[in-house]
């Protein structure tokens, strides 16, 4: 027979609302990174729930796998794909949102009322007996006896997924990438020696050496190579003319 101690109840009533609020927030915040953070928080509270329910190994693995690896992967992809692309919250399919919320309320209400009415036929047991040899040992016992076939299947699934991800994300090069040495040789053997000594730095002759101010060529025009293509594409390039000094004031004011 299972009795739940007060500390666990306190923990539950403290963390459960927090996790639900965080999950709701996940839907409502604009930035995807905030969503990911809130989800990470939900996962951590779930891990605490697991530990409270005598699933120590699963709780720790939840943090290592979900919070540590999966959410980190999400963050990584979010940063790769565009950090500040905040999601537009406008509806693209008219009437989708009210329908979704109504359906969710109905579905959630159904689930909750079902759980409320369901009868198990026996009292809750608790895991004291099952965990008597230790939670990890108990899990290992099951995993390598009853569930050894699913275990193998899942591990092959994992390998397949890793390979699949590699195939999907792999970017085949048509020609091998030039090494630094080959690039150096090509620079000197090319048609022109203009770039043999390297590209001009930003700020050459430009009276300003910030990276967004292009260098000036001897004829006063901007050297296109002196500035990062990213800055150019973003339109963050400054015109160096604005940093030019005006005519030097040579007029001498008479001393009093």
């Amino acid at each position: 027979m299972l009795t739940i101690q007060t500390p666990e109840a306190v923990m539950f009533w403290f963390l459960a609302p927090l996790s639900v609020i965080a999950a709701l927030g996940m839907l409502l915040v604009k930035k995807a990174v905030h969503s990911a953070l809130l989800l990470a928080w939900v996962m951590i509270t779930l891990a605490i729930f697991y530990i409270a329910q005598d699933a120590l190994f699963l709780g720790i693995v939840q943090i290592v796998v979900y919070t540590g690896a999966v959410m980190m992967l999400f963050l990584f992809i979010l940063m790769l794909v565009g950090v500040d692309a905040s999601d537009s919250l406008t509806e693209t399919i008219p009437g989708l949102r009210p329908i979704a919320i109504t359906a969710a309320l109905g579905f959630g209400g159904l689930l909750v009322s079902l759980i409320g009415r369901a009868k198990l036929g026996h009292d809750a047991y608790g895991l004291t007996a099952a965990n008597s040899e230790g939670n990890v040992q108990g899990l290992a016992q099951l995993l390598f006896s009853t569930y050894v076939w699913p275990f193998e299947v899942v591990s092959s699934l994992l390998i397949t997924a890793a390979l699949g991800a590699m195939v999907l994300a792999h970017h085949q090069r048509a020609v091998p990438r030039a090494t630094q040495r080959e690039q150096a040789i090509a620079r000197f053997r090319g048609a022109s020696l203009g770039s043999a000594a390297g590209l001009p730095n930003p700020g050459v002759f430009a009276r300003h050496n910030a990276v967004d101010v292009p260098a000036l060529l001897p004829d006063g025009s901007a050297a296109p190579n002196s500035i990062s293509a990213t800055l150019k594409a973003r339109g963050d390039m400054l015109d160096s003319a604005q940093f030019e000094l005006g005519e030097v004031d040579n007029t001498v004011t008479e001393e009093k």
Partner: protein, 99 residues
């Protein structure tokens, strides 16, 4: 308090995840909502494992984690591939066959 309360939390989280899948437009956020649903299901597995006094529920939850990891790896690779060709991570932009 009885352990059924965990089941209520699980049900609510699952519903929220489902709404997120339908409502949000960013493919990555949609993905995270799927993760939330899987997590919610895991919570009920663990709770039932405790109620029934056997560890089988935890083993299933363990398998769910592995499968979820697979799903994330492949899914994110797909998102990156789509992003490479479309420069967008919105699921509305990926309906090229329709138009």
């Amino acid at each position: 308090m009885n352990p059924y309360n965990y089941l209520y939390v699980s049900a609510i989280l699952f519903t929220i995840g489902a709404v997120g899948v339908v409502v949000r437009r960013n493919a990555i956020v949609v993905f995270m909502c799927v993760e939330l649903m899987l997590n919610a299901a895991n919570l009920s597995f663990v709770t039932f494992s405790r109620i029934n006094g056997t560890l089988d529920g935890q083993v299933v939850a363990f398998f769910t984690m592995v499968v979820a990891a697979c799903e994330v790896v492949v899914g994110l690779a797909i998102i990156v591939t789509i992003y490479r060709s479309r420069r967008s991570a919105s699921i509305d932009d990926a309906s090229l066959l329709k138009r």
